[in-house]
């Protein structure tokens, strides 16, 4: 049956699968961590976010966890999960897609 909810759900599904999420996450990283001199184009989809890549540190991870929870209702409990999720924007997008799908209830 057609309903407004199913339209929203389909739209969200499309959004999660698209490249828009990757771009949105890059913007979220820049905004949350106030990386004023960096643009989304500077962040490679596969590039390392921590260490030698974008150079983020442990406090940055904590800030991102809070921002991601607010924006997508996803929970990253600790560095064990964080290491995998925060490897790159691509792995982060994959996690958000998977976990938001689970959490989201219309």
């Amino acid at each position: 049956m057609f309903s407004a909810i199913s339209v929203v759900k389909d739209f969200r599904k499309g959004f999660w699968m698209s490249e828009d999420l990757v771009l949105e996450l890059k913007k979220l990283i820049i905004q949350t961590l106030k990386l004023e001199e960096i643009t989304p184009e500077d962040i490679q989809d596969d590039g390392q976010l921590f260490g030698n890549g974008l150079g983020l540190d442990s406090i940055d991870a904590l800030e991102l966890v809070v921002a991601l929870e607010k924006a997508y209702r996803v929970v990253i409990p600790d560095s064990e999960v964080g290491k995998r999720v925060f490897h790159s924007v691509k792995t982060l997008a994959q996690f958000v897609r998977e976990e938001s799908g689970k959490e989201w209830k219309p």
């Binding site: 540190d57 442990s58 406090i59 966890v65 409990p77 600790d78 064990e80 964080g82």
Partner: protein, 145 residues
């Protein structure tokens, strides 16, 4: 936000050849302030360990305004910011007691690790409950203007 206070007198081994306190000692005074405050709530490092956590310092800032000198009586003021993420951020002020002059101010951030070295991204419920009396205390009005 309330600051907790403790006092000490500058010792001979803390001054440099110019008769002023060597800058590194201010950090150890921060530690005196932190231990005094956290000790009131049974939140000393060994209490954290008993709960299964380490809380290492990952960030430290100190701004120096005026030198402290030998035998100066100083006031260490300490508070903790209400956490917005899984970290504890302490703020410190070092004042000279005789004239109330601010000598230095600083900030220190500690994160939370499990004993096997996993960093926590969310403050666990048991620790939240243990921290609550500390934040209740710090939300009381500050007695010093």
């Amino acid at each position: 936000m309330k600051y907790d206070e403790t006092e000490l007198k500058v010792r001979f081994n803390e001054v440099d050849s110019w008769g002023m306190v060597w800058h590194g000692h201010y950090v150890s005074w921060f530690e005196v302030g932190r231990m005094t405050l956290m000790g009131k709530f049974h939140l000393l490092p060994n209490d954290f360990t008993q709960m299964g956590y380490f809380a290492p310092v990952v960030d430290l800032k100190c701004t120096f305004k005026e030198p402290a000198r030998l035998q100066d009586e100083i006031l260490i003021r300490t508070t903790v910011l209400k956490p917005t993420k899984a970290a504890l951020t302490f703020r410190f002020e070092i004042l000279r007691k005789s004239d109330g002059k601010l000598l230095a101010s600083g900030e220190e951030t500690q994160v939370l690790l499990t004993l096997d070295g996993r960093m926590l991204y969310i403050i666990p419920q048991d620790l939240r409950e243990r921290l609550q009396p500390l934040f209740d205390y710090l939300e009381e009005p500050d007695s010093v203007a």
